[in-house]
């Protein structure tokens, strides 16, 4: 799938990232992280990864939550800067933090973005949205060939709000078409990225056109909302495939364990993304050069037990298996990005 050269570069990049602490003579004292939405499982796991890595490196680590409000995000970052953090990590709520990027530069505070890019940024740690969807799309194509009679009629429970989520859906369809060339996007809806809106929109969409056999959700909630709408309309899961994206928390593991149709997850390993972000922050602090986009790995998890390769679950917590995740080799560059900068 990935070209050998790309693979090589990716391995090098990963190695480079892994080896940072060994070289680093200087550790930043404090790192501040402004997250997009701390109550969301994805970000909780990102924070988990960050905290673990920061503790390992002996760095004081603080988190503020923008709670989806970009203005609040700017305020929180402002506060961090005035308190004198050494490096700032931000998960942008949206492009509204561009002036903040400039201010951080003016004040000489290194800034790492997590998740999505904005203009003028120095660097960003993120998975490739398109690639993630693409990987899952290929697996979905294989599944369709083997179990769905080679037919692929997709309902995308999407989120047009974000370019990242739009890319995932494009990637999914493109990957799917490599295996099932006549795969069709039958319903493309705005599920709002949360389960109840996804449920409501999917219900109406299924009433309009129920002639589908694959539900793709741009995140786990959307996939679950789509699946619940399917179930609520009284249909059986027999000839259905549900594909979720993110692998945000326990939700997808639970769904894969219990829902017969939920067979594929495009996992994005938030813990790993957090881990990498801290390492990148350290590098920036040491004035090392870093690529514009540091790719965090993603993988398609297939089958009811597929997740066990990367996670273990106990009493309402999941624990990442670092070995397995660190073995994944992200590409150096994404196949497609939305970032024109």
């Amino acid at each position: 799938m990935t070209k050998p050269l790309g693979q090589l570069l990716a391995i090098l990049a990963t190695l480079a990232v892994m080896m940072v602490p060994a070289w680093a003579a200087n550790m930043p004292r404090r790192i501040g992280y402004v997250t997009n939405y701390a109550t969301h499982e994805w970000y909780q796991n990102v924070i988990k990864g960050m905290k673990a890595r920061a503790a390992e490196l002996g760095i004081a680590f603080e988190v503020r939550d923008a709670n989806l409000d970009v203005n609040k995000e700017v305020s929180a970052a402002e506060d961090f800067m005035s308190q004198g953090v050494d490096v700032l990590i931000i998960t942008p709520v949206n492009e509204g933090i561009v002036p903040l990027v400039r201010r951080a530069k003016e004040q000489g505070i290194p800034l790492v973005l997590e998740g999505s890019p904005v203009k003028r940024m120095t660097t960003m740690v993120a998975t490739c949205d398109y690639d993630t969807g693409y990987l899952a799309g290929v697996e979905a194509g294989n599944y369709a060939m083997n179990h769905l009679g080679g037919m692929a009629k997709v309902m995308n429970v999407g989120l047009p709000l974000l370019s990242a989520t739009v890319l995932r859906a494009h990637g999914f369809m493109d990957g799917l078409r490599t295996i099932v060339p006549n795969a069709r996007l039958a319903n493309d809806i705005d599920g709002g990225g949360n389960p109840d809106t996804a449920l409501a929109a999917s219900t109406a969409a299924l009433a309009r056109n129920a002639d589908i056999n694959i539900i793709y959700g741009i995140n786990d909630s959307s996939a679950q909302g789509g699946l619940q709408a399917w179930k609520a309309s009284g249909r059986s899961q027999k000839n259905l495939l549900v594909v979720g994206t993110g692998g945000e928390g326990l939700g997808f593991i639970h769904s894969m364990n219990t829902e017969p149709a939920y067979k594929i997850e495009a996992a994005m390993f938030p813990e790993k993304e957090g881990f990498t972000a801290i390492d990148t922050a350290v590098k920036l602090f040491n004035k090392q050069s870093v690529p514009l986009h540091i790719v965090s790995p993603s993988a398609a998890i297939v089958g009811a037990d597929g997740w066990k390769k990367y996670y273990s679950v106990g009493e309402n917590v999941r624990t990442i298996k670092w070995d397995a995740v660190n073995r994944l080799t992200p590409p150096a560059n994404c196949m497609k990005t939305s970032a024109p900068f």
Binding site: T39, P195, D196, T203, R208
Partner: protein
């Protein structure tokens, strides 16, 4: 003054409670249905109708309580947040005990408890319900994450839990049946019982109601609790639909409910409103929502169109009221 219309004594006006004619809303609903069905033949498919009704069910369940509350000149904006919390609790208790009944009861009772707290803050501490319940909304939205940051899954995969929302009773989906029962009960209570009359009286003039031997505070407390219980019930159904308790579910749902109730002609100032109007308001808003998707229009219009419809309906209500002033 000389009353020219002395003889009018014998001709009662057609709509007694609130003199609120539902005709405009019925016509509006009919026009919408006709327009959408011309645009898409799938509109009348049984499946679509069922889907619309199921969506309506959730709004109507809380809307029934909210109508009573608004007639009594109070409002509850915490219902959306309460729904999410109640759903989480219902799922959690179901998981812990393995009993859907206990889970359902816990969820509904939690909603009732929220209603009780709202009631106490409004009637005892005398905080205006608009403010009190916005604050309650904030507290619940924060509190639900303190309860659990993650969605609570149906760990034991009890089919009975999902049946609450996806099951059918004959041809009727269970939530629609529940909503219908609740609607009919509240309709009868409001229209034909002592309690219903007292709701109007308290909303119209609480002082005078108290002088007439009513207890406005207690009546309002009951209404807050009822609305809370109904929010809990809706939260349970929503959790069942999603097969999980989701902490962010139901956000903004309070505005959907209030929009439907207002569209149905219930006054924000109390004393005026009907459940029939609320039913029509719920149907109209859901038909619009559904129509926008089924016609393949931009989903952004799901914000624009209801916004215009609500203001328009309020305006028509004023025009009708002026015309009927004498």
């Amino acid at each position: 003054m000389r009353e020219i219309l002395q003889s009018a004594n014998s001709t009662p006006t057609p709509h007694r409670l609130g003199a609120n004619s539902p005709v405009v809303l019925i016509v509006l609903l009919a026009l919408l249905c006709i327009a959408i069905s011309i645009g898409s033949s799938r509109f009348y498919a049984i499946e679509n109708i069922t889907a619309i009704l199921r969506q309506c069910a959730l709004v109507l369940i809380i809307g029934s309580g909210m109508t009573l509350l608004l007639i009594a000149a109070e409002v509850d904006l915490s219902v959306g947040a309460s729904m999410a919390f109640a759903g989480m609790i219902a799922m959690d208790v179901t998981n812990q005990t393995g009993s859907v009944w206990l889970g359902a009861a816990a969820g509904i009772l939690f909603g009732g408890l929220v209603g009780l707290v709202n009631a106490i803050i409004v009637t005892r501490l005398k905080v205006k319900s608009l403010i009190a319940t916005i604050a309650a909304m904030m507290i619940l939205q924060g509190g639900v994450f303190l309860y659990s940051r993650q969605a609570i899954q149906n760990n034991n995969q009890l089919p009975a839990f999902t049946a609450i929302s996806t099951g059918f009773f004959g041809p009727v989906p269970v939530p629609v049946l529940i909503a219908a029962i609740i609607f009919i009960c509240t309709y009868i209570v409001l229209r034909h019982t002592l309690f219903g009359r007292y709701v109007y009286a308290v909303g119209s003039n609480p002082q005078a109601a108290r002088l007439s031997g009513l207890n406005p505070e207690r009546l309002k407390q009951i209404l807050f609790i009822v609305t809370g219980l109904l929010a809990g019930l809706s939260g349970l159904i929503l959790a069942s639909l999603m097969n999980a308790g989701q902490p962010t579910a139901g956000r903004g749902f309070e505005l959907t409910v209030i929009a439907a109730v207002i569209l149905g002609g219930t006054s924000l100032n109390g004393g005026r409103g009907t459940l029939l109007g609320t039913l029509l308001g719920v149907l109209i808003l859901q038909v619009i929502n559904d129509g926008i998707i089924i016609l393949g229009w931009d989903q952004e219009l799901q914000l624009v169109v209801p916004g215009i419809v609500i203001v328009l309906a309020a305006y028509l209500d004023i025009v009708r009221r002026r015309a009927g002033a004498r």
